[in-house]
């Protein structure tokens, strides 16, 4: 028997002899390659592998979790004892329960046309260096070029005391970059992040070289031709990257049931949506925002979550109303509903908590040209550079990167540093039309203590907001 099933099943068998009401064991083996290319120079190469077992138990209505990377049965037995001991010591007044789930047995894996493990690291470095060389060949002044490449091959085995047995394999690929373009004492900066679930073919699917060069050219154009962004109430046409960050920050986070219930109060924060907020209006009738782990090749693709629940699309906002919270089995029980498969952990050594996967505005049927053509005066913000939002996900601010003035339906000169500063309902209520040009970017979603920076993606099509205050 392979190590993962052997150790996890051993942990489970041992735990179930100890009188727990629920136990699960999650074995993970992650193999990573990661490098940074700084101004064309390979700064450092990181290679690593990590594997271990995490055990979570429910005892007397309290949760205990323990993990080890010391892969002996003695150590696994010790963490089971640890988890039970700390759970018993919790002395909760209200008892934690889990929403019902049927046990499932499944093997799933994400196919790779060319396996990441078969691509030499030298080839991976050469690929990113060729993008960097093409970028420099533009002849622009780019004093800071920072590319970070990472791939991660994740093997998991999940088993619980209800009979679920799930083995999975997820290969993931990511490239993120920062650029600074300078001209006449002014600088323009950008940050983009692309992710993929699958094999090495993801690099070609991104068309990374073209994206980076288009980005650098638009930065140069902003520096040379950019003017101050207009201030006042006007229309805003926001590109997929802007729709994506707003989906993640002001739809995904406030619909995480653990935040709604207060479990993340001292870490990620809470939510402006109350526990009885299903049906609450937060946007116009054209706004559908979904979170979907089953989007093929998105970096947060999965078929079962880290509690062994099958993944499915979740409508967070539908026709402008809060429709569904992201749930794990614990929050689902507290809200008298079912889990929708949103429990994820960054590795074996942390508990699975409620997380987004791939969050996006559901596309409709307008072209970008149609969205722009009846804007009398406004801004077309294709991308953003910085953002912030409060811990209840109500007041948000996004600062534009690539943006243009729009007059009588025509895209004019670039405008710099456009600021959107709106409440979540004000942002989504202003949306009157949604495009069809769905696109995604990757991100790291942070939450919990110990911190779990987890693979996520976010996106959308271009959307149009009417009569919003910009500066």
């Amino acid at each position: 028997m392979e190590e993962e099933t052997d150790l996890a099943n051993f942990a489970l068998d041992y735990a179930t002899t100890k009188g727990v009401s629920y136990a699960e064991a999650r074995y993970e083996h992650q193999e990573q390659e990661n490098f940074i290319l700084k101004n064309g120079v390979l700064d450092a190469l990181y290679v690593g592998q990590d594997r271990g077992v995490g055990v979570r138990v429910l005892v007397n209505g309290a949760l205990g979790f323990a993990a080890t990377n010391l892969r002996t049965k003695a150590d696994v037995r010790a963490i089971v004892d640890d988890a039970i001991k700390v759970a018993k010591a919790s002395r909760r007044k209200t008892k934690i329960t889990f929403a019902h789930e049927d046990a499932i047995e499944m093997n799933w894996s994400i196919p790779e046309q060319r396996k990441l493990a078969d691509v030499p690291v030298e080839e991976k470095i050469a690929e990113v260096q060729s993008v960097d060389r093409d970028l420099m060949a533009l002849g622009l002044k780019i004093p800071a070029r920072y590319f970070q490449f990472s791939d991660n091959r994740i093997v998991k085995y999940f088993a619980n005391s209800e009979g679920s047995r799930i083995r999975s394999y997820s290969p993931r690929l990511r490239v993120l970059y920062f650029l600074t373009v300078a001209q006449d004492g002014q600088v323009e900066q950008t940050y983009r992040n692309y992710g993929w679930s699958g094999g090495w073919e993801g690099i070609a699917a991104w068309d990374l070289g073209k994206r980076v060069i288009d980005e650098a050219r638009s930065m140069q154009r902003s520096l040379v031709e950019g003017k101050k962004s207009p201030e006042g109430k006007m229309d805003l046409v926001a590109g997929p990257q802007v729709a994506g960050i707003a989906s993640h920050e002001s739809c995904g986070h406030p619909t995480e049931a653990d935040r709604v219930l207060g479990r993340e109060a001292s870490q990620a924060g809470k939510s402006f949506i109350p526990p009885d907020g299903i049906g609450m209006r937060v946007g116009s009738e054209v706004v559908n925002v979904v979170d979907d782990p089953t989007v093929e090749h998105a970096i947060a693709y999965y078929r079962t979550d880290d509690e062994g629940v099958k993944a499915r699309r979740r409508y967070l906002y539908k026709e402008g109303r809060v429709t569904e919270f992201l749930q794990n089995r614990e929050t689902a029980a507290a809200m008298h509903t079912r889990s929708n498969g949103a429990a994820r952990a960054v590795n074996y050594n942390v508990e699975a908590i409620v997380r987004m996967a791939n969050t996006f505005v559901e596309p409709k049927d307008h072209s970008v040209e149609e969205l722009l053509e009846d804007v009398k005066f406004g801004v077309y913000m294709k991308s953003f550079m910085e953002w912030n939002i409060d811990d209840k996900r109500y007041n948000a601010k996004y600062a534009g990167r690539e943006a243009y003035l729009v007059e009588n339906g025509e895209v004019k000169h670039p405008v710099r540093n456009t600021i959107i500063e709106l409440t979540t309902p004000a942002f989504w209520s202003a949306v009157d039309a949604v495009g069809k040009d769905l696109d995604f970017e990757a991100g790291f979603c942070g939450k919990s203590d110990p911190g779990q920076a987890l693979d996520a993606s976010m996106g959308g099509p271009t959307i149009r907001l009417r009569n919003v205050y910009l500066r």
Binding site: K38, V41, L42, D43, A44, L45, Y46, V47, G48, Q49, D50, R51, G52, A62, L63, G64, F65, A66, A67, T68, N69, L70, R71, D75, A78, I79, D82, A83, K85, V86, A87, A89, S90, R91, R92, K93, T94, I96, V121, E122, I125, L261, G262, R263, E264, A265, S266, Q267, N349, V350, E351, D449, P450
Partner: protein, 142 residues
């Protein structure tokens, strides 16, 4: 742990590395997370990790060795990868030692602390006694 660190560094140097750093950590942390005025989960860890940094002819490699039972093989593999990597002309070396560091002497009361629940309860009741409606946070023993 000192033996493990020294063994990693010596092995890397013997394989041709000019610079080598190993930082071995044994993690036996204990945590209670609490929210809404009660514990939400208690966590414990039993982990050992060596974070390593090797430089071979300006080729810089970082890694974590998680399986300390296979140290020599892990170092050999990593140095081989470092040798096949590219030079970083900006690499200027690590600070010259040797350095002496004060040994941390942890409070024995903290070391023997095995049950954090009463401290969590004290924090929650302390906050609520002062009028707080809700108390949340983390108790950690490292």
């Amino acid at each position: 742990m000192e033996d493990v660190s020294s063994r990693i560094v010596e092995k890397a140097i013997s394989l041709g590395c000019q610079d080598a750093i190993a930082d071995v950590i044994t993690n036996r942390s204990y945590q209670i997370r609490f929210a809404q005025n009660e514990a939400v989960i208690s966590n414990r860890w039993r982990e050992s990790t060596a974070s390593v940094f090797f430089v071979y002819d300006k080729r810089v490699l970082a890694s974590d060795i998680k399986d300390l039972t296979q140290l020599d093989a892990a170092v050999e593999r990593l140095v081989k990868i470092a040798k096949a990597s590219q030079k970083n002309p900006d690499y200027a070396g690590i600070a010259k030692g040797p350095f002496r560091y004060a040994r941390v002497r942890p409070d024995p009361k903290v070391l023997s602390l095995d049950e954090g629940g009463k401290y969590v309860e004290a924090a929650i009741s302390g906050a609520t006694d002062q009028g707080a409606k809700e108390c949340a946070g983390s108790f950690w023993k490292y």
